[in-house]
């Protein structure tokens, strides 16, 4: 009746896993009980869970990412601690458990921390920057978010019921085939990624369409903010790459479930093809992550240098160049698999070429700062930290791009240090900068700067203390994913790395403290004008937080820094430049439970597929189909905001800004 599911699926015999699972269950149940007791459920359902507003969805994405950051970081802590203890010793994590932890760490950090974070930031800021009311397909946006959350839920469920994959974050066959991984771990991974992958592909389609077809009047391509260009590039890569992931994981699923022979050892399967196809997705994936981070830095550096971005044109060309090149280098992840000198050389050269447009971007940011009046806010610190760290990581990447060097360093800790260098230095610092930068816009109050800077320094120093030792031991020959080792030269470095990860832990604690303190002091920290940073792009012309319709009247854009040019003129005259517009009623899309319900059935279907509960699979699929039809059968898809309401909100915004211009304190 319940397929492979039984009480043995709960890890009663593994104390660490049991404790972790129990803790997670307690936290989740506790949170739900608290929310219900306080009566927040109707509000949450009405305003957040069924919301199709890009701002709300963006915030939920970032919230999911923040929670998963903590979960993934705990995995990292456990790994570092194991390696610091396991010199000529067994450590505290048996190999079967350790293997699950490094697999979960990578899977969670990439799919459920980094992707949601950048997608959340793009969701929140891009429509505001384009001067429009929402993305192209708001309900689809909600579906995307909830499918991603469904995938995250499945991965975390594996902690409590069953096990996770032991194959690493990319499940190479033959290890991931049924013969060598007969348990449910790989299945949890596969279905979680397939479900969230559909959500991500929908996001890609949504955002490409938005950037290309929905912009304020007058906003030609050349006048789009650079963050929107990187949004376009990143989502084009999503549309190009995620179908490959879906297809490849589907092939592995067919091998495991129905006895196909794509990657098996027998009957002509070719395990190498898995690596080829999965990295054809995997390399573009990291550019999907880093391109929006580059966009954030363009916005932050320009704002906090008080200067327009240096040479927008080359920035745009570089962005598109990275977009296309990222799809041409995937073999550098398996130089050592044996494609031969010719093939390796071509991909090696391509991998080095891709550093060039990135270098162009770095120079442009530096030249933006040069001659500007730089304000070292915490967002700017993250950006400068990025420039230093990412360049180093990029250089080790170019080093690895040489097949000759890679033959020595492939799958060593040098590689691990390299990719953490670029992902933490690039993506993580980028999302932290974006989070700090757009937080006031989202919530209406500014984060505590002192705690933010302290968190930055802990992360920055902690990063180097953790990963420079890994470069060293990687050069000395230590391979990745080692549960224990016996080389004395490596041992001191493992201890240093442990100190580093504890420093990063301090950084995370400080970030949590920053959030806590800022929320408690929010009355004092209110952003009254909507423009706390003296911004240059259109999102800063709205209130903080913006009204549901973003702009009372879509702005007409005539320059590439539309808000800045109006603001400068208004400052010169000390009053608002524009006349009060003719307010018209605004139609906005209705909220919809479609996303949440679809994800519910996705979780049911995924869980029952993992445990082979076939009747429940069918029920889940029927439920999903019924949800589609119910959604398609809606008659009322929009609601109208009357002109008086629009006028009231906009007049308050105008009054606040007029007061700021006149120098009065804003009430």
């Amino acid at each position: 009746m319940l397929g492979k599911l039984s009480w043995q699926a709960v890890p009663f015999d593994q104390p660490i896993a049991l404790a972790a699972g129990a803790f997670v269950v307690l936290v989740i149940v506790g949170a739900l009980v608290w929310v219900a007791a306080k009566g927040y459920i109707p509000y949450l359902w009405r305003e957040w869970i069924t919301s199709v507003d890009h701002k709300r969805i963006g915030i939920m994405y970032c919230l999911l990412a923040a929670v998963m950051l903590v979960r993934g970081f705990i995995d990292a802590l456990m790994m570092r601690s194991q390696q610091a203890l396991a010199f000529h010793a067994a450590g505290y994590l048996p190999p079967e458990h350790y293997n699950q932890i490094f697999s979960a760490h990578g899977t969670i950090m990439i799919f459920f921390m980094a992707m949601p974070f950048v997608i959340g930031l793009m969701n929140f800021a891009m429509p505001l920057q384009l001067g429009v009311r929402d993305v192209a397909f708001p309900t689809l946006n909600s579906v995307s978010f909830w499918l991603t959350a469904a995938g995250a839920l499945l991965v975390n469920l594996s902690l409590v019921v069953g096990e996770f994959a032991r194959t690493g974050w990319l499940p190479y066959p033959p290890l991931s085939e049924l013969t060598y991984s007969p348990g449910v771990g790989v299945d949890y991974y596969l279905w979680a990624i397939q479900i969230s992958g559909v959500g991500t592909l929908m996001t890609g389609i949504n955002m490409v369409t938005t950037v290309l077809k929905i912009r304020a009047p007058g906003m030609s391509y050349m006048r789009m903010p650079i963050f929107c260009w990187t949004t376009l590039a990143s989502n084009l890569v999503i549309v190009a790459a995620f179908p490959i992931l879906t297809a490849t994981l589907a092939m592995l699923l067919l091998d495991r479930y129905v006895g196909f022979h794509f990657f098996t050892n027998e009957a002509g399967g070719n395990a190498m093809m898995f690596q080829n196809l999965i990295w054809a997705w995997g390399h573009p994936e990291v550019y999907i992550l880093v391109l929006p981070a580059f966009g954030v830095f363009s916005e932050v550096v320009s704002t906090f240098s008080g200067k327009p971005l240096f040479d927008r044109r080359s920035m745009i060309v570089a962005t598109l160049g990275i977009c296309i090149l990222s799809l041409c280098v995937w073999l550098h992840h398996f130089f050592t698999m044996g494609a031969g000198g010719d093939v390796n050389a071509v991909f090696g050269i391509a991998s080095m070429i891709i550093a060039v447009p990135t270098g162009v971007k770095i120079y442009n940011w530096l030249f933006t700062m040069y001659g500007g009046r730089v304000r070292f806010s915490s967002a700017m610190l993250w950006s400068i930290g990025f420039m230093v760290t990412f360049v180093i990581g990029g250089m080790t990447g170019v080093l690895l791009a040489s097949p000759v060097a890679d033959f020595v360093l492939h799958n060593s800790l040098f590689l691990v240090a390299h990719f953490h260098n670029v992902i933490i230095g690039g993506v993580v610092f980028g999302v932290f900068a974006g989070y700090t930068y757009w937080f006031p816009k989202a919530f209406g109050f500014v984060l505590d700067e002192r705690l933010g800077k302290a968190a930055f320094w802990c992360w920055f120093v902690g990063f180097y203390v953790t990963f420079v030792p890994l470069y060293v031991v990687g050069l000395e020959g230590m391979t990745r994913r080692m549960q224990r080792f016996d080389r004395p030269e490596w041992y001191p470095w493992m201890l240093v790395a442990e100190v580093g990860v504890l420093t990063i832990l301090c950084g995370i604690v400080l970030q949590i403290a920053q959030l806590w303190v800022s929320i408690r002091q929010r009355a004092k920290r209110r952003d009254l004008t909507g423009d706390p940073w003296d911004g240059r792009s259109l999102e800063w012309s709205t209130t903080s937080p913006p009204p549901v319709f973003n702009f009372a009247v879509l702005p007409v854009v005539t320059s590439d820094e539309p808000y800045w040019s109006i603001k400068q003129e208004a400052r010169a005259r000390r009053h608002l430049v524009t006349a009060e517009p003719d307010y018209a009623p605004i139609e906005m899309p209705r909220n919809s439970p479609t996303g949440f319900v679809t994800a519910f059935f996705a979780v049911v279907t995924g869980f029952s597929l993992i445990w082979h509960i076939w009747w429940l699979v069918i029920l889940g699929l029927i439920g999903a189909y019924v949800t589609f039809v119910a959604f398609a059968w809606r008659d009322h898809t929009e609601f109208e905001i009357p002109a008086e309401e629009v006028a009231r909100i906009d007049r308050a915004n105008r009054a606040a800004r007029a007061a700021a211009l006149a120098g009065e304190p804003v009430r």
């Binding site: 084009l236 490959i244 080829n276 044996g338 494609a339």
Partner: protein
């Protein structure tokens, strides 16, 4: 026709076309367009089957001929059924299509190139011996 929603605002006549949308000419012309497409596609399909069976084409070139015919048939579909043209208002559609074609070529030909090399260098022993027999 429902009232234009906010998303309909800001557009003007002649702006942008979408694939698959009939061109809005007279019914007779439209049907004729589809019939021509059907006819050409049928001819090319028959040509494909003929190329497969016949001896007229240089033997090793048949596979290539089929590839070319497939591309031609896809072209007919794009033009006559999906109404893709080179008008400036179709620009975004063509760019997206070109992007898709680029990715497809990268994946298919890139994978083939890589895997052929890998298979050659890492051929299992029994296959190698089979080749030598």
């Amino acid at each position: 026709m429902s009232e234009p929603s906010d998303f309909d605002a800001g557009s003007y006549v002649g702006a942008d076309r979408v694939p698959g949308q009939p061109e809005g000419r007279s019914l007779a012309l439209e049907v004729r367009g589809y019939l021509i497409g059907l006819g050409l596609a049928t001819l090319l399909t028959i040509a494909s089957f003929w190329a497969d069976q016949t001896r007229e084409i240089y033997a090793s070139g048949v596979a290539m001929a089929l590839l070319v015919l497939a591309v031609a048939q896809i072209g007919i579909h794009l033009i006559f059924f999906l109404h893709i043209t080179t008008d400036p208002d179709n620009e975004n559609n063509i760019l997206a299509l070109a992007f898709g074609v680029l990715i497809v070529c990268l994946i298919v030909f890139g994978s083939l190139w890589v895997m052929l090399h890998l298979n050659h260098n890492l051929m299992p022993m029994n296959q190698l011996m089979q080749m030598q027999r």
